[in-house]
């Protein structure tokens, strides 16, 4: 049996009515030891921030495990209480999103390779007829990033768009801007 898939449509300008949750940006509860903040701007092709976008993140726990039955290694409840693995942040009036989470662990993948710690990201906005998908890696995981098969498949000159940098002067904060178009356009994936 094969059914035709339902097509995507844009979230439009009024997603704030239906999608944000009060605890959406908290993939882990406030006050969790070791929690980090990932924050940045969502920018259009003119470099203008989007005040009406939604950023969602999905990731493994710090041990590289998922509380999910389709992980063939078995579903594992997170070792940190309240860890959800999923973050959702609408951008504010300045175009900024903010996710509070834990650093994910590395993951096994094809051919015995290991994926460096990363988050999968979906971006939704007016003007995007389908979500766009990217990944967040961490600048301080240079060795793991160098061995990551997904980064290796990306044009070396654009790899930097997938790397979150530690924010200056803010411990535990990483900066990751998303440029939808133009100079420094973020690498987006067909998933």
């Amino acid at each position: 049996m094969s059914l035709p898939i339902t097509p995507s449509q844009t979230v439009g300008p009024y997603l704030a009515i239906g999608l944000p949750w009060p605890d959406g940006p908290l993939a882990v509860p406030e006050g969790t030891p070791g929690a980090i903040t990932i924050t940045g701007l969502v920018l259009d092709g003119a470099g203008k921030p989007l005040p009406d976008a939604l950023v969602e993140t999905w990731q493994a726990d710090p041990d590289g495990r998922f509380d999910h039955p389709d992980d063939p290694r078995g579903a594992v409840a997170p070792s940190v209480a309240g860890f959800r693995g999923f973050g959702r942040s609408a951008t504010d009036a300045d175009g900024r999103y903010r996710i509070r989470t834990l650093r994910p662990g590395p993951l096994p993948c094809q051919g015995g390779a290991t994926e460096a710690p990363h988050l999968d990201v979906s971006v939704f906005a007016r003007g995007l007829l389908d979500r766009v998908v990217t990944r967040i890696y961490f600048a301080d995981e240079a060795a793991a990033n160098a061995a990551d098969p997904v980064l290796a498949a990306v044009d070396a000159g654009r790899r930097g768009t997938l790397i979150a940098a530690p924010a200056a002067g803010a411990d535990g904060e990483f900066s990751f801007d998303i440029r939808l178009q133009g100079e420094g356009e973020t690498v987006f994936f067909d998933v």
Binding site: S2, T6, Q9, I17, D44, Q59, F66, G127, E185, V191
Partner: protein, 248 residues
């Protein structure tokens, strides 16, 4: 047209593969919809393998939803104004399997075509008894059901005399990151379909039709509400993957 589902071995582990639909979703760069001009990426997408992060996803449960969240008409002291309707259907994957216990979120304009949002400047009345947001979980058979008000069409600034056909926004998770979908449900026979660049951004006319709900007299509640049925099909996690792998 779709790529064939495939199985991948992750560190010796066999993972399900999700089909990659081709020609189903609108192209990001759709100039008739003007907001795409500065927002749609210009560089080609890079193919992402479907590894552990992609074949898993948030399984958001009952803690996010109360039974009252599925009725958008009775959140306030007074009744919402407009044509009361029941919107129901199933969430399935393309293998025909129901997607149970998955979060469905909706938002919409009111009967006058006005959103409860600060940037909606349409000079139509707000309804103090209608917020326009709802959510529910599908049941064990993948079924969902909302009680709401039929949204009105509304003008927008895309081009001269542009009007959106009446629609309800739907957000779906499925069970994997690959299955995430946000879309819009329309109503049968809307005269605005031929003029709407968002509806028509879907290249295949038969795929567009899949966003149009079906009027269902059998599910109407006499003397109370009309009913519209709409099934949503997410990308399949081919159930044959493991068998195919075993045949090799």
């Amino acid at each position: 047209m779709t790529d064939q589902p495939h199985a991948t071995a992750a560190g010796g582990l066999i993972l399900p593969g999700y089909e990659r639909p081709r020609g189903v979703h609108p192209p990001l760069n759709s100039p008739e919809y003007r907001s795409t001009a500065l927002r749609a990426p210009k560089r080609p997408l890079v193919r992402l393998p479907q590894n552990l992060t992609e074949i898993t996803g948030p399984l958001l449960g009952h803690e996010r939803v109360t039974a009252a969240d599925a009725d958008l008409t009775s959140r306030h002291d007074g009744e919402a104004i407009g044509e009361r309707i029941i919107v129901y259907g199933r969430v399935l994957d393309s293998d025909g399997r129901p997607v149970p216990d998955t979060l469905v979120e909706i938002w919409q304009a009111n009967a006058a075509g006005r959103y409860r949002h600060r940037v909606d400047g349409h000079p139509a009345p707000l309804d103090p008894n209608f917020d326009g947001a709802g959510r529910c979980l599908t049941d064990s058979l993948g079924r969902y059901r909302f009680i709401t008000i039929k949204p009105g069409p509304y003008p927008w600034g895309n081009h001269h005399n542009a009007w959106r056909p009446a629609h309800i926004h739907f957000s779906l998770f499925g069970r994997a990151f690959t299955q995430r979908l946000v879309t819009q449900m329309y109503f049968p026979g809307d005269p605005l379909f031929p003029f709407d660049p968002i509806f028509n951004s879907i290249p295949d006319p038969t795929a567009r039709e899949r966003l149009i709900s079906r009027f269902d007299l059998a599910k109407t509640v006499p003397d109370w509400a009309l009913a519209f049925e709409w099934d949503i099909v997410l990308r399949g996690a081919a159930s044959t993957v493991f068998e195919r792998e075993g045949e090799r």
